[in-house]
Symmetry: C2
Subunit: 343 residues, 2 copies
């Protein structure tokens, strides 16, 4: 039977194995797993995600037809070196396909070019799904269902290799999305890595306050939800930042500017309407995203682009004028109070 | 039967009514509700949260023994004026108690002092629970279970009034926590209002990117979770910022500094260890908070305060040295590549 090697049986690798098993693919595929932590490989086997555990990378990839690298990004470099050495020595199947699930793609694609011989093909991958709990215990065969899965074929990858990985992705219940490594890293810097950095910074700032013991008693689902990414696996998070530094730094700078803009609007006595509009637009657009409006069709030629009759004005026109009245009353009242105090 | 008036039958007011009903309190209390939006009052009655709807504030509070104001903060001012006028005219019960559920407390306490006659007592309140879906349809009698509920008695409130509101809070399944209005507003600025502002700013920034149509396709649970507060009810969110401006502005400034600090560490070639530690500490401390470690007992004299043997070093010492090795290899490799390119 064709042999599939999963290197790294944490959350992602074990979820892939579970899905292969639950979707009947293990009747025509032999799935072997390896993990740097032998307990994780054993747990993946006990959960049925892999049929056998390997004691080493060499043993895992021997004769493999498909190799899935499911480890934090910085660990992929030495895994690719090891797989490359086995391939060069002819110990993995001719025309084998290697893919990965790393969170950044530019460095990984370069490492693959540097380390893998021409006898194997590399198709980089990144499933846009996950959770903060790490390890095989948190794995779930349905983790990728309905998710997008970015694929970045190397320049030399033949069509057959791309088809092999696409078929794996489809078995996972995910939808393949092709782009180049630089595009991928720029986009995920904004929608994945910036939110991670923002959550860590927000949690750290409030946690380090002297009043944290009291504040922690008032922190509820809002705080826990907004900072939940701070619980991301430390090694995975570190590797993301180490391999996408410039892009993340760019977005952190823009985010700092956006925070400053929010603050200015808040302190501006005339900023009430702009603040209300910003809150209302974020509310409506979040609801659209959460309901599944994604891609170019959904977000171009939307009512927002017609200045004379925006979705926001249609929906919240009445609420806006009510609120501006309340706000003005409050402003006048404060001014009166201020002048009374000065007298 | 003693009459309870709920003014505002949205998410919070309707949840309070549902809980009174499900916990058998409506056999000895008569609960009447009013909402600016008559559909919301009707829906609250249909769900069993209130026994009758009132056509006006005056009608709702007539003869009331307890008045619960459950509206966005800026709307509380005119509600307090209306309730004050009815109390002054002797149309609500002598020694009636008025409480509220507003997200900020300093302005509300001042308005209560200005508008309510001595014949009624005011005990400000703020349940530390909620969800982003507004309105009576989203209400849930279990919403407050296990939550803390801040109480801010006015200076003139007698012990009996405080007991009445504490008993209401206990019926909700919540735990009363007493503090003054300024303390409350300072603490929630950090754990509630800052996360709200940060989520709106993060969502707005990424949403306004030209690449949003593509990015939206890659946004997954991480982005949706980190920005979920952007879907907060617009009116409630606006009122929070309008009535806690200086405190929120203070935290936004500190957050901007924290974001800048994260960015500097990211770009610093020697910053790897500090970054890894920051990620690891946030991970561990988030887990502690999520598991319910709150208050002074939990967060003072923790292992973090013993520099020579921190919880982090104990737990992640091995991971840290592994990671620093990977990081240094990457750094050396980049330098070699750089010097090869320069040659």
């Amino acid at each position: 039977m064709p042999r599939v090697a999963i290197l790294g049986t944490g959350l992602i690798g074990t979820s892939i194995g579970l899905r292969l098993h639950s979707h009947g693919r293990t009747s025509d595929l032999s799935v072997v797993g390896w993990d740097r932590n032998p307990d994780h490989a054993r747990e993946a086997r006990e959960r049925g995600a892999i049929a056998e555990t390997a004691a080493s990378v060499e043993e895992a990839v021997a004769g493999a037809w498909l190799v899935v690298l499911a480890a934090p990004v910085l660990a992929l470099r030495s895994l690719l070196e090891d797989v490359g050495a086995e391939a060069a020595a002819g110990r993995i199947a001719a025309n084998a396909v290697v893919t990965d699930t790393g969170s950044t793609k530019a460095d990984v694609m370069r490492w693959a070019t540097e380390t893998l011989p021409a006898s194997v093909s590399f198709v980089g991958g990144h499933p846009m799904a996950g959770k903060t709990e790490p390890g095989p215990a948190a794995a779930d065969g349905a983790l990728f269902e309905g998710a997008r899965w970015v694929l970045v074929p190397s320049r030399s990858a033949p069509g057959g290799a791309v088809e092999t990985v696409t078929s794996l992705i489809n078995t996972m219940g995910a939808e393949a999305m092709f782009m180049d490594a630089e595009e991928h890293d720029a986009y995920v810097a904004a929608v994945s890595h910036l939110p991670l950095a923002a959550a860590v910074a927000l949690f750290t700032l409030v946690r380090e306050s002297e009043a944290w013991p009291e504040m922690s008693m008032l922190a509820s689902s809002g705080f826990l939800g907004a900072t939940r990414l701070a619980q991301s696996d430390t090694s995975m998070a570190y590797d993301i930042f180490a391999t996408n530094r410039e892009q993340v730094a760019h977005w952190l700078e823009r985010y700092g500017d956006e925070i400053a803009r929010f603050r200015e609007r808040l302190l501006d006595d005339e900023g009430g309407e702009a603040l209300f509009r910003a809150l209302g637009e974020a509310n409506l657009d979040y609801a659209r995203l959460a309901s599944g409006d994604v891609g170019r069709d959904a977000w171009t030629e939307s009512p927002r682009d017609i200045p004379s009759m925006s979705a926001f004005d249609l929906l919240l026109g009445g609420a806006l004028s009510d609120k501006m009245r309340e706000w003005r009353q409050g402003q006048e009242e404060s001014r009166e109070r201020g002048s009374r105090r000065r007298r």
